[in-house]
């Protein structure tokens, strides 16, 4: 079992977290788009936002751990990179993907806590409302939350296209090494 990263490839922990986050981000996006138009008499009127918020909080927790994990693990070198500028763009892209998930977490938190009530995570625990509410908080945070979500999904599409390009055009192991650890 290769749990940690090596200079040549990712370990299981990185790989599992990557795909968990991928599923969570896409799922939250779809759920978010769907739930805001539910009618009052929908079975999901209360459950959908409850799940969205609960998963969202857990995702931010996972992302924090994932970020720390990247800091304490070796970073495998990119499989094939044409120039320094491209290498910079790639790492900038990855940083922005992380940042956007955090900002989505913060803006979502600000919507729900705008009147001083905490957010229950699957009734397991409650994230308290920590900041003093500011003017127009829920509406402003809501607009930012929606905008950031679309930007993130746009970048996720680019990210996925880049992986497919590496796999089918460059024919390198960029995608494969995110599916299972490559031999040490």
């Amino acid at each position: 079992m290769n749990l940690t990263n090596s200079a040549r490839g990712y370990g299981w922990i990185t790989i599992v977290m990557h795909w968990l986050v991928a599923v969570a981000v896409l799922g939250l996006f779809a759920l978010g788009i769907w739930m805001v138009d539910l009618s009052y008499y929908s079975d999901w009127y209360h459950d959908a936002p409850f799940i969205h918020k609960s998963v969202g909080v857990l995702l931010v927790g996972l992302m924090l751990f994932r970020w720390v994990w990247t800091l304490v693990n070796p970073k495998p070198a990119p499989a094939s990179v044409s120039s320094r500028a491209v290498a910079f763009l790639i790492s900038a892209m990855h940083a922005v993907l992380y940042l956007l998930v955090f900002l989505l977490g913060v803006s979502g938190y600000l919507i729900s806590t705008a009147e001083g009530h905490g957010i229950s995570v699957f009734d397991w625990f409650t994230v308290p409302a920590l900041i003093e509410p500011f003017e127009d908080q829920a509406d402003l945070a809501g607009e930012i939350h929606e905008l950031l979500a679309f930007v993130l999904i746009g970048l996720v599409v680019l990210h996925a296209l880049a992986a497919l390009k590496h796999h089918f055009i460059n024919r390198d192991n960029t995608l494969k090494r995110m599916l299972k650890p490559s031999g040490k």
Partner: protein, 192 residues
């Protein structure tokens, strides 16, 4: 001759002052000290009442205790100040599904006529909400009036009315028990 002039002058002053005395007193609604509230309630599913209020509003009125018909009132309400103590619900209420607060940041009431007595007055006027103006009647009564301990003079009223949401273009389906909103108004004015 001089005496006569003085007599006329005195009579004139008396006439003017008596008219001034009879004219209604002007008041500003005490939203600074917040001795006023615009509350509402609506049925939840037909099982209970959901209550809320508008935090920000302003208004003035004139009140003539001798002749109620000379009285009038106008109130402006910031629709985005709706507060039902639940952030996500309030966000929804401000949205285009309900108050459309971005497009219509203000709801207003301007009275056309006030009739009845202090104990039971009918305040007829135009209520504008979500860009729609309708005639409504507020059933009101006076609570009291008099000097306050700080050198001012106050009078206060209470009133209720109900509106159909659909009349104001608010058609989001909250269920058959929740098509009407009851408004509960408490107004205290400080004499200008």
């Amino acid at each position: 001759m001089k005496k006569l002039q003085q007599l006329w002058l005195a009579a004139g002053i008396m006439l003017v002052s008596s008219v001034a005395f009879a004219s209604p007193s002007k008041y500003v609604v005490d939203t600074q000290g917040m001795h006023a509230s615009i509350n509402f309630k609506i049925q939840h599913l037909g099982y209970s009442w959901l209550t809320g209020r508008f935090n920000n509003f302003s208004g003035d009125f004139s009140y003539d205790p001798e002749k109620l018909a000379n009285s009038k009132i106008s109130v402006k309400i910031d629709t985005d100040s709706i507060n039902t103590n639940h952030a996500e619900r309030d966000k929804h209420l401000r949205s285009a599904d309900f108050l459309n607060a971005k497009k219509f940041p203000e709801a207003t009431f301007v009275s056309d006529s006030i009739s009845g007595s202090d104990k039971a007055m009918q305040v007829k006027g135009k209520f504008t909400l979500n860009g729609v103006t309708k005639e409504i009647v507020i059933d009101a009564h006076k609570i009291g009036e008099g000097k306050d301990p700080w050198g001012g003079y106050r009078s206060g009223f209470s009133g209720t009315t109900k509106i159909k949401l659909a009349d104001y273009g608010i058609t989001y389906d909250l269920g058959p028990a929740s098509t009407e909103v009851f408004l509960d108004l408490n107004i205290e004015g400080i004499k200008k």
